[in-house]
C-alpha cells in the first residue's frame, strides 16, 4: 500500500548484435491503493515493464521508486502473480503454500497465528475446503486463487500481476475478476495488472495505460471513474472501450 513512481524508464535487449529497444521513457505515478491496468498489444513489452518493477530485469535507464525509495533487486514487498499455473509448490498443500512464505519472511513464527492467517486468506478466496489438497488436485482457476491469497497474506507494498487470468476460460476469468476487485476494495493494495484484454482492463483498473509497439511508450493514460458494477453493455463502458481499443496497435506479420 504505497506510492509507486516509475521515472523515464527505458529498457532494450540485445538481439544478434542489434539493440532492440523495448521500453522507452515510461513514466508512471501511482498513489497508494491505485489499481493500474496496463494494456498493450502482445509482444510490446508489458511483461518487461512489470518484471522491471519486480526487479527481475534491470532497466537501462530510469528509476523505480516506492515511497520515494529506489527499489533494489527482487523482494517480497513487490510480489508477482504469474500467468503460469505452475506458481505453487507442488510438494506442499494449499495451506502450506500460504504458510511457508509467511514463515520465510518472519511475519510470524507462532504456529497458531500462521494457521489462522492461512485459514483467513483461504476463506477470502473461497478455498477453505481445499486447505489440505495438493496443487495438482486443483483446477487452474483455483491455483491462481491460491497464488493471489499467498501474495495478499504477505501484505506486499505493490502487487504485480502479469496476465494472471490469461490462461483461464472466459467464465472463470469473469468470476476471478470480480473476486480480485472485491479483494482490492477490502485490502486497498496498490496493484499493477497487465492484460491485453480491453474489457478486463476497464473492469479492474481505476487507472489504465495503453502501451504502443516497439519501443513501447505510453500512448494513453486514462482514469477510470465508471461506477461498479462495470457492465460492458453500458454507454460509458462502451465509449471507453472504443477509445482504448482505438489506441491498441496490432502487429502486422
Amino acid at each position: 500500500m504505497s506510492d509507486l513512481q516509475v521515472k523515464n524508464l527505458s529498457k532494450s535487449y540485445m538481439l544478434d548484435d542489434k539493440v532492440l529497444p523495448v521500453l522507452k521513457d515510461i513514466n508512471i505515478h501511482l498513489k497508494s491503493g491505485d489499481f493500474l491496468t496496463v494494456l498493450g498489444p502482445s509482444g510490446c513489452g508489458k511483461s518487461t515493464l512489470i518484471r522491471c518493477i519486480c526487479g527481475m530485469e534491470t532497466p537501462n535507464s530510469g528509476e523505480i521508486l516506492i515511497d520515494g525509495q529506489p527499489i533494489s533487486g527482487v523482494g517480497p514487498e513487490r510480489l508477482m502473480v504469474f500467468q503460469d499455473f505452475n506458481q505453487l509448490f507442488s510438494w506442499k498443500t494449499v495451506k502450506e503454500n500460504i504458510i511457508f512464505p509467511l514463515k520465510l519472511n518472519k511475519i510470524s513464527s507462532n504456529k497458531q497465528e500462521l494457521n489462522d492467517t492461512a485459514d483467513e486468506f483461504l476463506k477470502i478466496v473461497n478455498l477453505q475446503k481445499f486447505a489440505n489438497a495438493y496443487p495438482n488436485q486443483l483446477s487452474g482457476g483455483m491455483r491462481q486463487r491460491v497464488a493471489i491469497a499467498r501474495s495478499l497474506a504477505l501484505k506486499p507494498k505493490v502487487l504485480l500481476m502479469d496476465e494472471p487470468f490469461g490462461a483461464l476460460d472466459a467464465q472463470t476469468r469473469a468470476i476471478l475478476q470480480k473476486e480480485l476487485y472485491q479483494l482490492w476494495e477490502q485490502f486497498k493494495t496498490t496493484i499493477i495488472f497487465i492484460t491485453h484484454n480491453v474489457q478486463e482492463a476497464i473492469i479492474l483498473g481505476n487507472k489504465i495505460i495503453v502501451l504502443g509497439l516497439q519501443p513501447a511508450m505510453i500512448k494513453m493514460q486514462k482514469d477510470n471513474h465508471i461506477p461498479y458494477p462495470r457492465m460492458p453493455e453500458t454507454a460509458p463502458f462502451m465509449s471507453l472501450w472504443k477509445t482504448l481499443y482505438g489506441q491498441l496497435e496490432t502487429k502486422r506479420f
Binding site: 527481475m56 503460469d84 505452475n86 510438494w91 512464505p101 495438482n136
Partner: protein, 263 residues
C-alpha cells in the same frame, strides 16, 4: 476412492498373484516331469534349501555382509554424487569437466574396471565397494543434473520473489523440483549396485573375510550344490523386491505421485 478404482486395484493384485502361483506350480512340476531335478531343483527344494541355509547354514551371514557392502557403497555414492552435482551447479567450468568424465565413465561396466581396482587396493571389501560406488555414482549425477536443469524458470523466480536467499532457494525450491529425477536416479542406483556386487564377487571371487551373496552362489556352484545356488538367487530376488516394492515404490507413491510430479 471410487469403487471402480478399488476394484481395479484388486483385479491388478489378483492378476499378479495368479501369475506368481502359476510360475511356482510350473517350477515345481516341470523339473520332475523332465527328470532334471539334479540340475534344476523344484520350487519346494529351492525354498527348502533357502530356508534351511538361511537359519542353519551360512546364507544369513552372507546376506548381512552383502547388505553392508551395498549400503556402504550407496551411502558413499550418494554423498559423492551430492558433492559433485553441487560443484557442477556452482561452476560452469567444473560442469564442463564433469560432462567429459561422465561420458567416459558412465558406459564403463564396473566389472571391467575390477581388475584395475584390484591391482590398486587389493582383493576384498574395499574393491567391491569401489565398484559399487562406480556403478551408481554416474547415473545419480546424470539424473540429478537433468533434474536441476529441468526446473521451470518460474519456480526460481518465484522463490527469489518470496524472499529466498541462495541456500534457501536450493533447499526449498531446487531440490524438491528436481526430486522426481533424483528418485529415478536412486532406483537405477539400487538395481545397479546389486548387479555390481554379485557379478564382481562371482567373476573374481573377490571378497572380504566372509563374502557376500555373489561369493555364496559361486561357492555353491563349485560344490555342485544346485539347491544352494537357487537359495542364493532367491535371496537376491527377495531383497531386491523388498527394497524396490516396499521402500522405493512407497517413497514414490508418497512423494512424486501424490504431488503430481511423476516423470
Amino acid at each position: 476412492m471410487a469403487e471402480k478404482e478399488i476394484n481395479d486395484k484388486r483385479k491388478s493384485l489378483a492378476t499378479r498373484l495368479i501369475f506368481l502361483v502359476a510360475l511356482f506350480v510350473a517350477w515345481e512340476f516341470l523339473p520332475q516331469w523332465t527328470g532334471s531335478e539334479k540340475i534344476i531343483p523344484t520350487f519346494s527344494m529351492a525354498i527348502e534349501a533357502f530356508w534351511v541355509n538361511l537359519w542353519k547354514g551360512d546364507l544369513f551371514k552372507h546376506i548381512v555382509y552383502s547388505l553392508q557392502l551395498i549400503f556402504t557403497g550407496i551411502l558413499i555414492g550418494m554423498l559423492l554424487a551430492f558433492i559433485l552435482t553441487a560443484l557442477c551447479m556452482l561452476s560452469k567450468r567444473f560442469n564442463d569437466v564433469m560432462d567429459v568424465i561422465v561420458s567416459i565413465m558412465h558406459p564403463l561396466p564396473g566389472i571391467a574396471l575390477l581388475p584395475v581396482v584390484m591391482l590398486l587396493v587389493g582383493l576384498g571389501a574395499k574393491s567391491i565397494i569401489i565398484i559399487i560406488v562406480h556403478s551408481i555414482l554416474w547415473p545419480l549425477i546424470v539424473n540429478a543434473l537433468a533434474g536441476f536443469r529441468a526446473i521451470p524458470r518460474i519456480q526460481l523466480e518465484l522463490g527469489r520473489n518470496l524472499g529466498m536467499r541462495p541456500f534457501r532457494l536450493i533447499w526449498s525450491v531446487m531440490i524438491p523440483n528436481a526430486f522426481p529425477y533424483i528418485l529415478s536416479g536412486l532406483k537405477i542406483a539400487w538395481a545397479r549396485s546389486w548387479r555390481a556386487l554379485v557379478s564382481a564377487e562371482m567373476v573374481f571371487g573377490a571378497s572380504g573375510l566372509i563374502g557376500g551373496l555373489g561369493w555364496y552362489i559361486y561357492k555353491t556352484r563349485f560344490f555342485m550344490d544346485v539347491s544352494g545356488m537357487f537359495a542364493g538367487l532367491i535371496s537376491v530376488i527377495i531383497i531386491g523386491m523388498i527394497v524396490d516394492e516396499l521402500v522405493l515404490k512407497t517413497l514414490e507413491r508418497k512423494t512424486v505421485q501424490k504431488w503430481g510430479m511423476s516423470l
